[in-house]
């Protein structure tokens, strides 16, 4: 697995991108977007996580095993969310 090490320039770029997105998140709190507020904030958070995973965690250059590790982590997060929500979202269906 030949890994090309990213240059320090790209690390600075990633760092400033993350900073910029943080400021966007802060700015967002001053806007009144109603029900779109949370989805947009989550979208920004997601893109930040993606940048961290791809560059800082070297997933962009990593082999398939790295992606398998990431994928299983996400799958398990999905299990946690789905089965927990299977309780929260169905509480009103039947009362006892």
């Amino acid at each position: 697995m030949a890994e090309t090490l990213a240059s320090s320039r790209s690390y600075y770029l990633v760092f400033f991108a993350l900073l910029a997105l943080t400021f966007v998140t802060i700015g967002l709190t001053f806007l009144h977007l109603g029900r779109w507020h949370t989805p947009i904030a989550l979208l920004i958070a997601f893109s930040k996580a993606l940048i961290v995973a791809l560059f800082f965690m070297h997933l962009r250059h990593g082999n398939r095993l790295y992606w398998l590790a990431l994928g299983s982590g996400l799958l398990w997060l999905g299990i946690l969310m789905t089965l927990t929500l299977s309780d929260f979202l169905t509480r009103d269906w039947l009362s006892y």
Binding site: G73, F88, T90, W93
Partner: protein, 551 residues
């Protein structure tokens, strides 16, 4: 250059008297505290988890003594709460979860796959220190007033009501959790990268498969527990609404996240025990294991399905009816791979030439007690019956059958099986068989009455009970004292064996695994020549047909 090949044949002689082994290669406190040898770290873990086992055991003894009489004259209700919390926390997080992976796994995994060490030896040492920090903090918590939430730390009691050391206790558990994450990571990488030449996945010993499955659970579940306790701390310290309904939180969220870790944690505890049994049964029946691939994959499927069933702890907690139905169904599913194992073990014994040395006695005890624990688990997965016995001694008896009857029996089996390899010395077989018998009898007498108590409606976690329950409680306490003797005995004769003269030789059980093809105790580098594997791990009867691994 000769290479060592499996299967082991007596004439392929291992040099008995190697001058250098991992114990005599260096002396002094520093050579132990700074060692990166997985074998020495295994022994360090052995000492530390044994201390924790006796701490948890003392708490259990006090609990049982208090329950001798209906009025609970020994301790106050508050002290009783702290005692069962201490017992649960210490036994689960500081003994049962780490014990087999960190002691036997640490010592045996590299030997069983023909490696020099684990993939990250220094991380391994770091795991031990992290465990120590967690354990010391926990002991500090216990001796400075304790904690009264139970090992489950349910909200809102833990977040709002309890005035005991909740935050220090969860901090200690989070620290110990990191130790188990590192161990899991180390094992996964080791199994992937360091197998000896020729050791394909389906030639791996089943203990390795079970450690691998355990490591996956450790990696995927433990972080959730850590995050949960951070959330608990945030709510307790700053009143942020996470679990408090008055602040738009949900108390059941705590239970969801807690059991997302803690149900799979049951499999962290039991899977290594299952792996040990799968090693011992073929050896003492002189037969290949029946259904190797089924047992291997059932470990993996237990690891995966174990993540889908946690809601069965919340049937009466206010979980939705639909979620309860789903979790009940999924809980039945997890019985399938467990049953596959039990059937395959039984089939392994069939027509074997069975001998009853100590490891085998413990392993057979495991199968019997685990089966009772598993079957009562099926009863509990049924919604209606679960509501009847929820939070009663039936539950207590059920999980002790799995964790003590299953897991601790499995650990004892493994410890007695590999003790000669670890120390080069053989313990007294007579005393060891006696202790196996005492533990089995003491265990049955302790926990069988608790099934009846629970079914009759005695709730758990109370320090008093109605007078009509006294006879069964006295029986249980009597059993516990027998069990206590059973656990103290090995402590005595195993230590005595170290000073005895009975050398075990490299392979006292005439077993086939790679770990037996090197001197006992093993040299620092584990193998004098690189092992080369040519067949499966349990070739006890090479002449017999139906030999899956020869392909």
């Amino acid at each position: 250059m000769t290479t060592l090949t499996t299967p082991y044949r007596p004439q392929a002689k291992v040099t008995e008297t190697t001058a250098e082994n991992y114990l005599n290669v260096a002396y002094g406190v520093k050579s132990w505290l700074l060692t990166t040898d997985h074998k020495r770290i295994g022994l360090l873990y052995l000492m530390s988890v044994t201390v924790m086992f006796f701490v948890g055991g003392v708490a259990a003894t006090l609990i049982r003594l208090n329950l001798l009489t209906p009025h609970g004259q020994l301790v106050t209700a508050d002290t009783y709460n702290k005692l069962f919390s201490a017992h649960g926390i210490v036994m689960v997080f500081f003994f049962l979860v780490p014990v087999v992976p960190t002691v036997l796994g640490n010592f045996m995994l590299p030997l069983m796959i023909g490696a020099r060490d684990l993939a990250f030896p220094r991380l391994n040492l770091a795991s031990w220190y992290i465990y120590l920090v967690g354990a010391f903090l926990m002991l500090l918590v216990l001796f400075s007033g304790g904690v009264d939430t139970g090992w489950t730390f349910y909200t809102p009691f833990s977040s709002k009501a309890s005035h005991t050391n909740v935050l220090p206790a969860v901090t200690a558990i989070v620290i110990a959790g990191f130790s188990s994450i590192f161990t899991g990571l180390n094992f996964v990488v080791t199994v992937h990268r360091l197998r000896a030449p020729g050791l394909t996945w389906f030639r791996l010993p089943l203990f390795v498969w079970s450690l691998y499955s355990t490591s996956i659970i450790m990696l995927l579940a433990t972080p959730v527990l850590a995050m949960l306790f951070v959330l608990l701390a945030i709510e307790r310290l700053w009143g942020v609404g996470i679990f408090d309904p008055a602040l738009d939180g949900d108390p059941l969220l705590f239970q969801h996240l807690f059991w997302f870790y803690s149900h799979p944690a049951v499999y962290i505890m039991i899977l290594p025990g299952m792996g040990i049994v799968s090693e011992i049964l073929p050896c003492f029946s002189r037969k290949n294991i029946f259904g190797y691939q089924f047992i291997a994959f059932s470990s993996i499927s237990i690891a995966v399905i174990g993540f889908l069933v946690w809601g069965h702890h919340m049937f009466v907690a206010g979980e939705s009816v639909y979620a309860a139905l789903v979790f009940s169904l999924l809980s039945y599913l997890v019985a399938v791979p467990s049953a596959i194992k039990v059937f395959n073990w039984t089939a392994t014994l069939y027509k074997g030439s069975v001998s009853f040395q100590t490891p085998m006695l413990f392993a057979l005890g495991f199968i019997g007690l685990f089966t009772i624990g598993g079957l009562t688990g099926l009863m509990l997965a049924a919604l209606g019956l679960n509501i009847h016995v929820h939070d009663t001694y039936f539950i207590v008896a059920h999980f002790h059958f799995i964790m003590v009857g299953g897991m601790v029996m499995g650990y004892m089996a493994g410890l007695h099986y590999w003790w000669p390899k670890m120390t080069g010395k053989m313990y007294s077989e007579w005393w060891a068989r006696l202790s196996a018998l005492i533990i089995f009898v003491g265990f049955i007498l302790t926990f069988m009455p608790q099934f009846i108590l629970g079914y009759l409606g005695m709730p758990r976690r109370y320090h008093v009970y109605p007078a009509e329950f006294q006879v069964l409680n006295v029986l249980s306490t009597a059993g516990a004292s027998i069990l206590g003797v059973g656990y103290l005995l090995p402590f005595a004769y195993l230590i005595a064996s170290l000073f005895g003269r009975t050398r075990s030789g490299p392979n006292p059980w005439a077993a086939t695994g790679l770990e037996w093809q090197t001197p006992s105790p093993p040299p620092p580098q584990n193998f004098l020549v690189t092992p080369h594997v040519t067949c499966g791990p349990y070739e006890y009867a090479l002449s017999s047909e139906g030999d899956h691994a020869s392909s």
